[in-house]
Amino acid sequence: MNWEAFWLTVRLAAIVSGLLVVIGIPVAYWLTFSRWRWKFLVEAAVSLPIVLPPTVLGFYVLVALGSRSPIGRWWESATGHTLAFTFPGLVIGSLLYSLPFAIQPFASSFGAVDRRLLQASASLGDGPRQTFFRIIVPLSKGGLIAGFALSFAHTLGEFGVVLMVGGNIPGVTRTISIDIFDQVQTGNYSSANQTAMILLVISFAVLSLVYGLNRRPWAAGPWR
């Protein structure tokens, strides 16, 4: 069992899902309430990572982060080394890869809040910002937790994007799924099994949490 890879993966997933809450909430809010006619194009773009092969996504992220792109050059001049094949590069790739898994639950729970409640809040003197924090957030708790947990679980298990963007550098970019691949390549099946089992159990636990929280009888519970 490679604990270095395990903790690296958990750290990556925690950072990515945390950032996705910060980035995803405003994007999801905009997607839910904007009346811009071309909004559907943004919706489609945000959902692309669900259908694209991770290698395609990883390839473009790699190109975008490489030393020939403006972002890559800026990062190089600022830090002295390239963004590709580093942990920050891995975070950027994973952010894009897990984006829809955060934004879709956020947006659908925002959209499920009755518009009449928002109107009532407005006529009681609350502007959009206060209404968001006093009405939308508490009523979207299930969706917010689901988005966080799903993007966490999804980042835990990613393979293609990590391999393309991060490579396979122990302690820097080698995540559990890549570690498993390596162990299988070297014929070390029992170690691969251990690691795979841990990933399986964690993923199951996270998904159980998501579905458990969204269960109706609990959703009406006193802590909501």
Partner: protein, 386 residues
């Protein structure tokens, strides 16, 4: 400006609010969709302090109108004034956001916040106050509306009538300049209705603001008195005191809404200017009715509306009666609805619905097949243009 005014009044609870004129003036146009197509609300009216009932069928644009005044929907054009302050003016491109309007709005579905208790709902709009002050205020208004024992319950745990009171208290605690009520009594039984209306009236005596009260129930129009505005397909069909507007309707939609069980197509056959009446023939039958005189010519087609409760039944031909319409007929059906007996009587091809008491049915031994006379006063016949 509105925000400032509120925080002032909120911080000085002991000083009574200065009584300002808060007449509401609305002149707007707003297209809205309904299941039968796109309609346009196009209204101009003034509402003074006290109740103004807005009456109309579903789809007449009542809720769209309230949404525009509350500021949750933007009118296509026009102006909305409250007490001299402009809430909306399309020409000046002024549109005060809903949260700065100080317009109390109790929506049809109440829109109570499901994650908050009744007390938290009531105190929702109070801001810039200490916790103790908020508790004091919400406690005060909740006891005035007799919901103080529900403080800690969630909306899902209280009854329909109590929810109504919570929604009302939540709007009134902010001392709005106008109160909009969208069918606030629809879900209530009769005693709950009158008790809520009484509490609201009491409140309105100390807070002289206009209350727009939307309903599609004719009974409520009479019960609330004051001014009534009749909305039909987005337009004001009539405005005035309830008995003026409701008893002499000019539109058939009003007649149906206002409770005419009997509505007939009719043709004017004779005018009696000196007697102040006219005679008209119902449908293709030979049945003639004497009705109040209206400006019409012989041959004019119109409709006659008669309330079932205004008609009498007699088992012998009445003599020496002032009523001018006495028609012989046969009882077709008798139905009991709660404590009202509804009799369908065929008079020469025209069927009348007559409402009677249980006692009258038993006393006269009324049953299907029995020969009776339907009696109606001239002034029980309400004429409507087509």
């Amino acid at each position: 400006m509105a925000v400032k005014a509120r925080s002032q009044s909120a911080k000085s609870p002991d000083i009574p609010a200065v009584p300002v004129s808060s007449d509401l003036e609305v002149r707007i146009r707003k297209r809205y969709p309904n299941p039968e197509g796109t309609f346009s609300v196009n209204v101009h009216f003034r509402a003074l302090a006290g109740f103004t009932v807005i009456f109309g069928a579903s789809g007449a644009g009542k809720t769209t109108l309230l949404d525009c005044i509350a500021g949750v929907t933007k009118p296509d054009e026009g102006r909305i004034f409250v007490g001299g302050e402009e809430l909306f003016d399309s020409e000046k491109k002024r549109n005060l956001p809903a949260w700065e309007r100080r317009v109390g709005y109790v929506q049809q579905d109440l829109a109570l916040f499901p994650h908050l208790t009744a007390e938290e709902n009531v105190a929702y709009g109070l801001r810039g106050l200490s916790g103790a002050e908020k508790n004091y205020r919400s406690g005060e208004i909740m006891s005035r509306f007799r919901i103080d024992r529900l403080r800690d319950r969630k909306p899902s745990q209280i009854s329909g009538g109590e929810r109504q009171r919570v929604a009302l208290a939540r709007a009134l605690i902010l001392e709005p300049r106008v109160l909009l009520l969208d069918e606030p009594l629809a879900a209530l039984d009769r005693p709950a209705k009158s008790s809520l209306v009484n509490d609201l009236r009491k409140w309105n005596q100390n807070h002289r603001i206009p209350i727009l009260f939307v309903t599609h129930n004719g009974e409520e129009v009479f019960a609330l008195g004051n001014e009534v505005i009749i909305l039909d397909s987005g337009k004001i069909a009539a405005q005035g005191l309830p008995h003026e507007v409701m008893r002499a309707p000019r539109l058939e939609t009003i007649a149906q809404l206002s409770g005419f069980e009997n509505i007939f197509d009719a043709t004017v056959v004779a005018l009696h200017e000196t007697r102040g009446t006219l005679t008209c023939r119902l449908g293709k039958s030979e049945v003639e009715l004497e009705t109040p005189l209206v400006r019409a010519d012989t041959g004019t087609r119109l409709r006659v509306g008669m309330r079932a409760g205004d008609l009498l039944l007699a088992t012998e031909k009445p003599q020496g009666l002032s009523a001018r319409n006495i028609l012989s007929g046969t009882i077709q059906r008798i139905e009991q609805r709660d404590v009202i007996i509804s009799a369908a009587v065929d008079c020469g091809g025209v069927e009348f619905e007559v409402h009677l008491t249980l006692a009258a049915r038993d006393f006269l031994n009324l049953a299907p097949g029995k020969q009776v006379w339907v009696v109606g006063k001239t002034h029980s016949c309400h004429l409507m243009g087509i």
